[in-house]
Symmetry: C2
Subunit: 209 residues, 2 copies
Amino acid sequence: MARKTKEDAERTYHALLDAATKLFIHQGIAKTTLNDIATAAAMTRGAIYWHFDNKDAVIRALWERNASTLHDAFTTELKHLDRDDPAEHFRRIMKELVQSVVNQPELGQAIRIVMHSVEFTDEQTELQRFLNAKHVELHSTMEQAFATLKKRKALKTSLSSTLLSQGFMSYLLGLIHIYLEPGIKKLDLKKSGDQLLDLFLDPILARTE
Amino acid sequence: MARKTKEDAERTYHALLDAATKLFIHQGIAKTTLNDIATAAAMTRGAIYWHFDNKDAVIRALWERNASTLHDAFTTELKHLDRDDPAEHFRRIMKELVQSVVNQPELGQAIRIVMHSVEFTDEQTELQRFLNAKHVELHSTMEQAFATLKKRKALKTSLSSTLLSQGFMSYLLGLIHIYLEPGIKKLDLKKSGDQLLDLFLDPILARTE
DNA sequence: TTTTATACATACATAAACGTATGTATAAGG
DNA sequence: CCTTATACATACGTTTATGTATGTATAAAA
């Protein structure tokens, strides 16, 4: 076949990732072969091996393209809580995060795929280590955020910031996970996301007015 | 080889499940082959195919042996909340559930394996459908429990029982999931389980004294 | 005691996915 | 305009796990 322009090549790159996303969601990651992805994008495996090293690299690229922006924005924003009203700032960041997941289907799909790729074993693959690092990063920034909230007297409870962080992370990840999994009982995060976050945060975040 | 007694056969059955558990945990489900399991139990694949249809059947058997008891006890207990003090009864059931997961390693391992086996796709395997059914059962009994709590004026909040149920399930599953995954930041559910549950339940469960 | 079903081991067939090697038309660079 | 690196397609070889088929020694049934 013929050589494409740089723009064409970039188009196939995205077409491959888009095809991979659909297939991963609809028939599962394990059952999706590289050939499936290629043909779904009207290409051959040659195209995939040109753009990616293997299936794990596809998943990682998916994360980079669809989730890394939110991850970075989230972590950096958490590190700079408002001086005057950190509690409300924190609350707003969390609500925006949830709404991002709800409003950007590609983001939600990427998160779902990534969540299923994280199997913590003795010997991690490169993808596992990468995702694990991001996971740890999330947890530690969240813990720092709660530490900051505590220092600024923005917390009602006397529980340790570590414990609160772990509890809230469990809640947040649980919400997103249940939302993203298409079980029978649907969780409407779009409508109820704010209420559900307030349900947890109201009792622990102090009012500042 | 020779025929074993019924007791011997049962021993190999359990040896196979034990070996499968260890391998699934340590090297992942996908990477664990039936041959791995067999040799780890000092058997051959013949033994596996005698006792199970395939790898999915092994996982299902693992659930039946190590998790079904708790699942059944949990769901039936939730359906019979105390007449006089349903809120405290509910709280106790949840704390006992968490402590069960903490105190029974085989149970926790089974849950972890099962959690990783649930990939919701268009065409579900038999295992997927089975686990999905259990999952749905959990959600609906939890929702009924919250409906009962609401009817008996055991809830402080005016939020719908459906929403509360979804929120609490997210929290519960999130806690257990983060506890079972051996990330760097460890969640000590044994010590903090009760506090973490109270953190969520105190603001919504009414006092009855 | 003979028979039969059991509880595996062993052997086989295959199929599927992977990674790599190679081919090639053509944009892009000089 | 010539050359080269690009962006794939195609072909190949190998591996590896799976399911099944068959063999077999012996508990258990009769």
